[in-house]
């Protein structure tokens, strides 16, 4: 084992940590908005991600059939489309289901869990029970190797970039747009926000739909690293809640910090001990920290 080998492995392991960080953050973002800002426990978050994944599959199949010359370029457009589809689905779900349950937050858990099962079965009926594999453009495959023996996965870089963009955009929107202002006002004090003329019902619906849209983007981006099937969403739901709860429910920065912490712990531990034990260790640490700080890493000031 030479020095360059050790250097290469360290570099790649460092990247593995960052890559897991961006995956966790991307899957947690939409939930952080919905759960963190609105207090809705959205168990169907994973299924909104699956909508995104299937959008990519549809786009790749249609492009392959009708416009094969665009195979290299379709992916970014498909991601935008994923946002739109998931956004619409979220809008409908809020209108039909969630808005009746704001006063009963625990019931949203049951209702959205039911919704997730219904959505899974819908995917199964429409796309079939088997997993599918969208054809990805060539430039997303393989690895970038700046030196011999050093391989940086391109799909990892891609997910990282998407995460950066989406996080930046969400932060900007939340703190620099009128929608953000309304959301923050509603979160801080719903009655007062109503009183000053903010249409909180409209804000709720938009917020929920945006959260779902971001889940759609996450699902779309994850087709490069994971599976696309009716139940793919359920692979992510636990981790997504973990990230959001650990970070402190109402704090977006907390979500970022917690995704970073969990990703690094998990990926470093995985390297030195076995995979299952690494998971146990990570969860154990989270439990201990949550016992000391029940409100999560970052708690924002909310009037209750």
């Amino acid at each position: 084992m030479s020095m360059t080998d050790i250097f290469n492995i360290t570099m790649m392991q460092g990247f593995a940590g960052l890559s897991l960080f961006s995956v966790l953050l991307l899957m947690g973002l939409g939930l952080a908005i919905i759960f963190g800002q609105m207090g809705v426990i959205n168990m169907a978050h994973g299924e909104f991600m699956t909508i995104g994944a299937y959008t990519i599959y549809l786009a790749s199949t249609l492009t392959e059939r009708y416009a094969p010359s665009f195979m290299e370029e379709y992916f970014p457009f498909a991601i935008l489309l994923a946002f739109v589809f998931a956004f619409i689905a979220g809008w409908i779900a809020e209108w039909a289901l969630i808005r009746h349950l704001y006063k009963r937050p625990l019931d949203t858990l049951l209702a959205t869990w039911g919704l997730s099962l219904a959505m899974q079965q819908t995917f199964r009926s429409v796309f079939g029970a088997r997993e599918v594999s969208p054809t990805l453009p060539e430039w997303l495959l393989g690895s970038w190797s700046p030196a011999e023996g050093l391989d940086i996965p391109i799909n990892g870089l891609f997910v990282m970039m998407v995460t950066l963009l989406v996080t930046g955009f969400v932060l900007l929107a939340l703190y620099r747009s009128s929608w953000g202002l309304k959301v923050r006002a509603t979160v801080a004090n719903r009655a007062m926000a109503n009183a000053v003329g903010i249409n909180t019902k409209r804000t709720d619906r938009l917020t929920f739909a945006i959260g779902c849209g971001i889940a759609g983007i996450a699902g779309a981006a994850f087709t490069t690293i994971g599976s696309t099937g009716p139940t793919s969403g359920s692979l992510y739901i636990v981790d997504a809640f973990l990230v959001v709860t650990f970070g402190g429910a109402a704090s977006l920065l907390g979500t970022v910090a917690s995704a970073f912490g969990i990703a690094q712990t998990q990926s470093i531990a995985e390297f030195f001990i076995s995979g299952s034990m690494a998971k146990v260790l990570t969860l154990l640490l989270i439990v201990i920290i949550l016992m000391i700080r029940p409100q999560g890493l970052f708690a924002s000031k909310i009037r209750r």
Partner: protein, 418 residues
């Protein structure tokens, strides 16, 4: 009556051993093969759902839930076999009627539906289950109510029941010959074992480890298990890069499987740089993984869709005619297809639908029309079968590159491997 239109017996050397057993079903056949079917009172003394024109069987798989991904193929294959048998006139002159139950990927539901099939519907046989967990859940029901289950999945072994016929490979059949091939053909001496964290990969890897260490004198440089549904394998991939094993030996399943191969490819590990042998990837899984991500890797199974023999060509043709030209057939799908045919042969040999008589008559039942080639039921209720190595092609099919010369004896309780 005989469905052996094109008898081809590739096992001349084995003939003498087989003769005794093989003669039995042939003795039974002619007496029922012509003329009127035998009276119901004679073929059904245990109050099964058998009439003069019909026999009812059950089908118990997950049509919904997580496992629907895998079990759909089995449901289709069993239905195809039953349709074909009915088109030939049924079993003992009776058409097969199927009651389909959905286990919904939930093990207690499997047990409940099994009880319903046996107690309320009095089915003559059940084709079903996929995961070991579902099989373990229904086993006590089948033993208590004395039913007959045909179970299609390759599994970890360590089980044998009067009431179950295992039509897939048990672990030693799938693993040992494949490892010997890896040592002989690929000169593999160091192995890195990777699996999902539950009973089947753990038991299989235990057998692999014993075989590599004790019999091949090779070494294990890493053994890793990841929770089911784990989707991030970058750290593992770095460990593989660090250890540089001759062979990565995998039993990763489900959604994790897809993530694992996509990330391997993204990390620059491909077939040119790394020899990889898996026991958990069939044509079904490649649909989700994508052929370009597993191209050049090897899979150890008893059946591949590309097998070039007349039985298989006819089977693939019939399957595609029924389920569409894009349908793929994996190892378990083929094993599920064997279930109804083996049951038919056994019923005809026993001259009865009674479960006790079928259980007793099963040993020695042979099937020359099996798509995988010739199979035969061992007294331990598993199948004698060949082992094969397939090389993954970018189009999602496998090219068969090696095949065990003889049928491998099933050995669910292997000595020296536990």
């Amino acid at each position: 009556m005989s469905d052996f239109d094109e008898p081809h017996d590739p096992f001349l050397t084995r003939r003498r051993i087989l003769q005794g057993m093989a003669a039995l079903p042939l003795v039974g056949l002619p007496s029922f093969g012509f003329g009127a079917p035998p009276p119901t009172a004679k073929v059904n003394t245990t109050n099964l759902a058998v009439t003069d024109t019909e026999v009812t069987v059950g089908q118990l798989h997950s049509a919904t839930g997580t496992m629907a991904i895998s079990e759909t193929g089995s449901i289709q294959a069993e239905q195809l076999a039953i349709d074909q048998i009915n088109a030939m006139g049924g079993v003992l002159g009776r058409k097969i009627k199927v009651i389909k139950e959905d286990g919904a990927s939930d093990w207690p539901t499997f047990a409940e539906k099994a009880r319903k099939l046996l107690v309320s519907d009095h089915v003559a046989a059940v084709f079903g289950c996929w995961t070991s967990a579902s099989r373990k859940a229904v086993l006590p029901v089948f033993e208590k109510e004395n039913g007959m289950l045909y179970y299609p999945t390759f599994y970890e072994g360590l089980e044998q029941s009067k009431n179950v016929i295992y039509t897939g490979q048990e672990a030693t059949q799938q693993i040992i010959w494949g490892l010997d091939w890896a040592k002989k053909e690929k000169k593999a001496k160091t192995f890195f074992l990777v699996g999902s964290d539950y009973i089947w990969p753990r038991t299989s890897m235990k057998i692999a480890r014993k075989h590599i260490e004790n019999f091949q004198k090779g070494s294990i440089v890493g053994e890793e298990y990841y929770p089911l549904g784990h989707t991030n394998f970058n750290s593992l991939i770095n460990k593989i890069k660090l250890k540089k094993p001759d062979c990565v030996y995998c039993a990763v399943v489900g959604g994790s499987n897809v993530a694992f191969y996509k990330q391997l490819k993204a990390a620059g590990i491909n077939a040119k740089k790394q020899f990889l042998l898996t026991i958990s990837v069939t044509e079904d899984e490649v649909l989700g993984i994508g052929g370009e991500n597993v191209e050049g890797f090897y899979s150890s199974m008893k059946y591949f869709q590309s097998l070039n023999n007349p039985n298989n060509i006819a089977f693939v043709k019939a399957f595609k005619a029924k389920y569409g030209a894009n349908a793929v057939i994996g190892d378990v799908t083929q094993a599920a297809y064997l279930g109804p045919w083996l049951w038919k042969a056994t019923v005809e040999k026993a001259g009865s639908f009674d479960v006790d008589k079928i259980a007793a008559a099963s040993a020695g039942i042979e099937l020359k029309t099996a798509p995988e080639g010739y199979v035969k039921i061992h007294p331990n209720h598993h199948l004698w079968s060949k082992a094969r190595i397939g090389l993954a092609q970018p189009n999602g099919q496998f090219k068969v590159v090696a095949e065990s010369p003889a049928l491998i004896e099933p050995n669910p309780f292997p000595k020296g491997y536990q």
